[in-house]
């Protein structure tokens, strides 16, 4: 054995120079404090986590602390974090990174996450962990000692690619690592080439369809650990279920992967009560809706579907966009129809949904969050609630941090209702509220999951009530009935929906639904297509067979 010993000779040279030049020197007070601060930051033990002590504002959950400790102490900083969605993989990863930074083992890190999550990661690391991470957008600085967050698509593109591959990273993290399951892809190749010490792969679905997925992931961390590819398939086959059935493989994998499942965490999850409320348009509103459908289908404008959607939300939302369209687009065939329709809107009574909101909230003191897709609806609701003596505050993703916090505080201490247009990944914690109204539904189920996640999360002490509004005989009813309820979107406490959609290569559900309505000649056709979409998704869901990675079921 051979221990390398590095000695510091710079110090004495510098001291000598200072003495020759008669200073400048530190005072005794400052000298003492410098020594004290070193004593205060020193890590005296090989084992254990020091990071939690430095983050007193955070309440880490047991499984998160255990995970971080296991990765640091037993996996030597190379591991797969494969907790189920919602158990805090980001927190675990942040904790591990922080630990290494405190111990002076990581100075230069590369964090590869989906482009849409770059900012969220940067915020979480800085707010929760005081890790000053740089989100890399336009002017990349790769060659310095820092913590950089970027997307794999940016990183693998030239000219970045070559520079990044030259860097020696202390720490590399890859979020949504299941996208690397195929070793023949460019992404996989790129990641394998990174020079790295510590490495974390984050995924909720370590094996998506083939057992070789896990082989490829492990080969990023520890090439050879599972033998080479031929040996691996010979010994363990190809069936993904073997990951959980083959005792030997399971044992091997447990040394490089941490997987917590919701029921393993020992946390008492409160219930989620979902109620769909179907609302009838008033006669006048229904007439307007039918009329709008007629004139928009004649116009065959690409965004025509938007207007009918907006009408289901509020007169204001629809009015504003129509007006805008009429002002911008001069060549509309049935312009007079639209103009007449605008007059019709002006005469319309209060929206049926808004009245329903009042009905729900009026007689209770409980707090409610109302989510809507449209700013105009948000304004309208605020006004309408005010007229009924109900206090509310607005919330938008675009608010600055300070304003967000302020609104949250107002909501917590003063107002009964928070009206939000965007769930926003940037975590504001609203778990002091346990009622949510989905005033109109996003056509992207992931966003719905995010909305609910604002209140149904750690720290929620009550059962959560979710009210979904949908207006009968409109597209809202179809989407809710034929899609969301079919795929049991609301019942599943947490979903691997993102992974399923990725596997089905449905990139954007919203677009999918939009084109269904757009391209269908009749309502019946649209319904059938929606039904098809939901059966494809639920089929994939069923294929996601139950797993039992940690042996919890046998032992309990």
């Amino acid at each position: 054995m051979n221990i390398e010993l590095n000695r510091d000779y710079d110090f004495i040279d510098q001291l000598e120079t200072k003495l020759d030049h008669d200073g400048p020197f530190s005072t005794w007070d400052i000298f003492k404090m410098s020594y004290q601060s070193s004593l205060a930051t020193v890590t005296k033990d090989f084992k254990g986590l020091t990071a939690p002590k430095r983050l007193p504002q955070m309440n880490f959950l047991n499984h998160q602390l255990e995970c971080a400790q296991q990765v640091v102490e037993e996996m030597n900083g190379r591991g797969i974090l494969a907790d189920e969605v919602g158990l805090g993989k980001t927190i675990e990863a942040g904790l591990i990174l922080k630990e290494y930074m405190i111990r002076g083992l990581v100075k230069k890190a590369l964090i590869l996450v989906p482009a849409s999550l770059v900012n969220q990661w940067a915020n979480e690391l800085s707010q929760k962990f005081y890790i000053p991470a740089i989100s890399q957008r336009k002017r990349p600085v790769w060659d310095q000692n820092n913590i950089v967050i970027t997307s794999i698509d940016t990183a693998k593109r030239q000219p970045h690619r070559d520079i990044i591959l030259e860097q020696e990273y202390d720490f590399v993290l890859i979020d949504e690592a299941h996208k690397l399951k195929n070793h023949k892809t460019k992404n996989y190749e790129f990641v394998r080439k990174l020079k790295k010490k510590y490495c974390l792969l984050l995924t909720a679905t370590p094996v998506q369809n083939k057992l070789s997925d896990i082989f490829n992931l492990v080969s990023i961390l520890k090439p050879g650990y599972l033998g080479n590819y031929e040996e691996f398939t010979k010994q363990f086959g190809r069936d993904r279920k073997n990951l959980f059935n083959d005792a030997h493989l399971k044992q091997l994998i447990q040394k490089v992967m941490v997987r917590n499942r919701r029921e393993d965490t020992g946390i008492d999850w409160t219930k989620r009560k979902v109620e769909t409320i179907y609302i009838d348009f008033s006669e006048k509103e229904q007439e307007a809706y039918n009329e709008l459908k007629r004139i928009t289908s004649e116009a065959a404008n690409f965004s025509s579907i938007t207007y009918t959607r907006e009408l289901c939300s509020s007169r204001e939302a629809c009015y504003l966009s129509l007006k805008k369209m009429l002002n911008q687009d001069k060549g509309i065939a049935n312009r007079t129809d639209f103009e007449n329709f605008l007059n019709l809107i002006e005469e319309m009574p209060h929206h049926a949904k808004a009245e329903k909101v009042i009905e729900l909230i009026e007689d209770t003191d409980e707090k409610f969050i109302i989510f809507t897709e449209y700013r105009a609806t948000q304004f309208y609701l605020q006004l309408y609630l005010q007229q009924h003596g109900i206090s509310s505050v607005p919330f938008r993703g675009g608010f600055k941090r300070g304003k967000k916090d302020w609104m949250r505080q107002l909501f917590q201490n003063k107002a009964q209702v928070l009206i939000a247009t965007e769930a926003g990944g940037e975590g504001i914690n609203l778990q002091f509220c346990n009622n949510m109204i989905n005033y109109d539904l996003p056509w992207n189920p992931m966003r719905l999951e995010q909305r609910i996640g604002r209140i149904h999360r750690f720290g929620q002490e009550h059962d959560v009530n979710i009210y979904n509004f949908a207006i009968k005989n409109t597209m809202e009813e179809h989407v809710l009935k034929l899609l969301y309820e079919k795929i049991q979107l609301f019942e599943r406490v947490v979903g691997n929906l993102d992974a399923i959609l990725a596997e089905l290569e449905i990139g954007d559900v919203e677009e999918e639904i939009q084109s269904i309505f757009q391209e269908s000649a009749t309502e019946g056709e649209a319904k059938i297509k929606l039904e098809n979409l939901s059966s494809v998704i639920s089929y994939a869901q069923n294929n996601y067979s139950e797993e039992d990675f940690n042996d919890t079921r046998e032992s309990s």
């Binding site: 010993l5 430095r54 090439p223």
Partner: protein, 281 residues
């Protein structure tokens, strides 16, 4: 010599850096920064560049620090052992407080000789599969070569100042600074020789195992040169990860002139903990 009270530490820090303490009550500290400290802590280089260019007097900011966790919702920065502000302050100290030349304060009308000491506060980092650090404060008397461990604690009793007192004079070292430093390094090498290094052995063995796995993984691949390069890179990666290394780095240090009486008292006083004093001639 440990940092027991964060609030007092911060008060001392700003006082030592000649900033006015405006408020100091129940775990809240308000400081009027001076130009130097504003530049050092407030991270606004453009402002200072601009002010200096135009020759205007700068307007340094005030800083409110809260050390009482019960008041952390109040206006100001909550300071605790992980807060970025505290670590920024610690960081400024690593350069501000690195080099010293200090003299014992003597209040007597008689001519007093001061004995030169080289003080080195050393951090020893042990890095393998895991990492830990150890801090040892060491003093070397530069006339007779006597060494004393735990030096910072002994110096706590001594009144030290930046300039030499009237009637005091310094003795010329018999041991040159650099050879003195080498003696200290030798001491640490000897200290390390006699330590248990099972941690290193464990890391070393682990490294060999990981290397074997890698070799096996790449063994049968008929692939080309690119594969070969990757193999070498990955060997390098795991070496940097597991190779046992010890790092000696100086936290701070300097030349201290102490009276004969103080020097003798320090030499004779027992050292705390299990750290033993030793003599090297």
């Amino acid at each position: 010599m440990t940092l027991a009270n964060l609030h007092d530490f911060l008060t001392d820090y700003f006082t030592a850096n000649e900033c006015e303490v405006i408020e100091n009550h129940n775990g809240k500290l308000q400081i009027q920064l001076n130009d130097t400290m504003d530049e050092l802590l407030m991270n606004r280089p453009f402002y200072w560049q601009y002010v200096k260019k135009l020759g205007y007097p700068g307007e340094p900011m005030k800083m409110s620090l809260i050390t009482n966790p019960d008041r952390r919702e109040e206006e100001g920065e909550w300071i605790h052992f992980g807060s970025p502000r505290l670590h920024q302050i610690f960081y400024t100290l690593t350069t501000q407080g690195k080099f010293a030349r200090l003299f014992e304060q003597i209040e007597t009308g008689q001519r007093t000789a001061l004995v030169p000491w080289l003080i080195i506060n050393m951090e020893i980092s042990y890095t393998g599969k895991h990492k830990k650090d150890e801090i040892i404060s060491m003093g070397l008397q530069l006339i007779n070569g006597a060494m004393k461990i735990d030096m910072m604690n002994h110096l706590e009793q001594v009144r030290l100042q930046s300039s030499i007192a009237d009637f005091s004079y310094t003795m010329t070292p018999m041991i040159r600074l650099k050879s003195g430093y080498q003696r200290i390094i030798n001491y640490f090498e000897d200290y390390l020789q006699h330590k248990d290094h099972s941690w290193a052995e464990e890391s070393w063995n682990h490294l060999q195992e990981e290397k074997k796995l890698l070799e096996h993984f790449y063994h049968n691949t008929t692939d080309d040169e690119a594969y070969e390069n990757r193999f070498e890179q990955e060997v390098k990666d795991i070496e940097s990860l597991f190779k046992p290394t010890i790092h000696l780095s100086v936290i701070n240090g300097g030349l201290f002139y102490l009276s004969q009486v103080t020097s003798n008292r320090i030499m004779l006083s027992p050292s705390s903990d299990n750290q033993k004093s030793s003599r090297i001639h």
